[in-house]
Amino acid sequence: MNRPDKQQTIVVIDDDYVMRLSCSKILAKAGFRVETFEDGAQGLEGIARLRPDLVVVDLKMPGISGMEVISRTAQIDPAIIIVVITGYATISTAVETIKSGAYDFLPKPFSPDELRLIVDRGLERRRLLQETQRLEMERELLRRRFVTFVSHQLKTPLVAIHQYLDAMRHLGDVRVTADQRQEWIGRCLERSDEMLAIIKDWLTLSKVESGHLCTERKRIDLTPLIRDVLKALAEVAAAKGVHLAAELPENTYCVRGDRNSLSVLFDNLISNAIKYNRPNGNVTITGQVREGDVTISVTDTGIGIAPEDQQRLFDEFYRVKARSSASTSGTGLGLAICRRIVSELGGRIDVESEANTGSTFCVRLPACHEAAAL
């Protein structure tokens, strides 16, 4: 059992002196800090002050009952674990105590081992509860930041356009020449295109998320699909002076999926391989079938990706801010979309890269063994 470094505190409430003494002895020996109280009122005061990890309480005491201690402890801090000891353990009292928030109960008489065991289990439960709470909080923080982050991304192009328009309105013809004005209008158009691209990608991403993109599960031969993607990108590659090559025999790399989303996937990967390449660079697409999986690799001889950036590439809006790629535009959503599509299809996507040398993106999908439908 992994015990936290900090000493854990246990409060024992029982009107029976011998009981208090023996519980306290057993638990102190097990390494806990133990505080005992002889009635409910003092016990509750002690709980509020000490904020223990766990409370052991006798059900039947004069004054404030054990049952009341349970419910009032939950009000003080619901994360405190309560173990009830009882001399007359009937099913109905047990159910009642657990209903009112106790973790478990221990019928008298019990052995030291039984007490230690139940306390250990109770504390393990507390640890799990706290861990879940922490994860929940982290997710919440991320979500809150995420909204800020997305709105920032959407605002950026609009702010740029606004600055241009404001300048053209306020500064007369003398201060802004006709040429300058034309150039600025061109920039405004480019930035509004960027805005449109972000919204388009954002929609694609949410479509994948809500299951509206990967709708079909057909047998698809990836070879002709990739060939079509390459055809569509030939012009872009030629303009950048990048050579595209694919050695993929037909009817070999067959998966079950959705034509539309698979095209989006390979279009994004191959576009990146072209975009983050250098003049005269290469993009090579290869395939492999192993252990019931089809793997398609897109390899480029481009700028590569530093190790610290590799883990974040697939995050929404993440773009590498290296000087070498600073001038290429993009939304930073392409790979986030790829990751969603691949996981939707039951596969995985990985990257291997070396800065200044090139990158390989591997998509692994479950192979479809069925023969092609006639």
């Binding site: 800020t148 306020h170 600073a326």
Partner: protein, 129 residues
């Protein structure tokens, strides 16, 4: 205006750089631009600006503040103007603006988009204070 004042402008958006540097040069200032924290750092090694204008979202979410701190460490008397398109409370690390040691890392704050006049005035105010 007497002598030309040198302004370091740091923003990751080319168009903001284009606009702001146009406006500031128009107003008679000397402008050096940087696209990110790293580039700004290189410039700061050899240049002491009379004013720095820093966009908060450069590189990483809080790197704007890191940069502000760096400028203040190197040149305590250089005023730092923060520009951001987010409202102040939305900026992660905004509370770091004063730093744990209570030292200011920025002198003024304006929100983008900013009217040309307002930018030039804010810069003027900081330069003459």
């Amino acid at each position: 205006m007497s002598e030309k004042r040198r302004i370091l402008l740091v923003d990751d958006d080319v168009d903001i750089i284009e606009q702001f540097s146009f406006l500031l040069r128009e107003a008679g200032h000397d402008v050096i631009t940087a696209r990110g924290e790293e580039e700004a750092g290189d410039i700061l090694e050899s240049v002491k600006p009379d004013l720095a204008i820093v966009d908060l979202m450069v590189d990483h979410l809080d790197s704007g503040f890191v940069l502000c701190r760096r400028i203040k460490d190197l040149y305590p008397e250089t005023p730092v103007l923060i520009v951001t398109s987010n409202p102040p409370e939305a900026n992660i690390g905004m509370d770091a603006a004063t730093g744990e040691d209570g030292r200011f890392v920025h002198d003024a704050f304006i929100q983008k988009p900013v009217e040309p006049r307002e930018l030039v005035d804010a810069v003027q105010r900081l330069l003459s204070s």
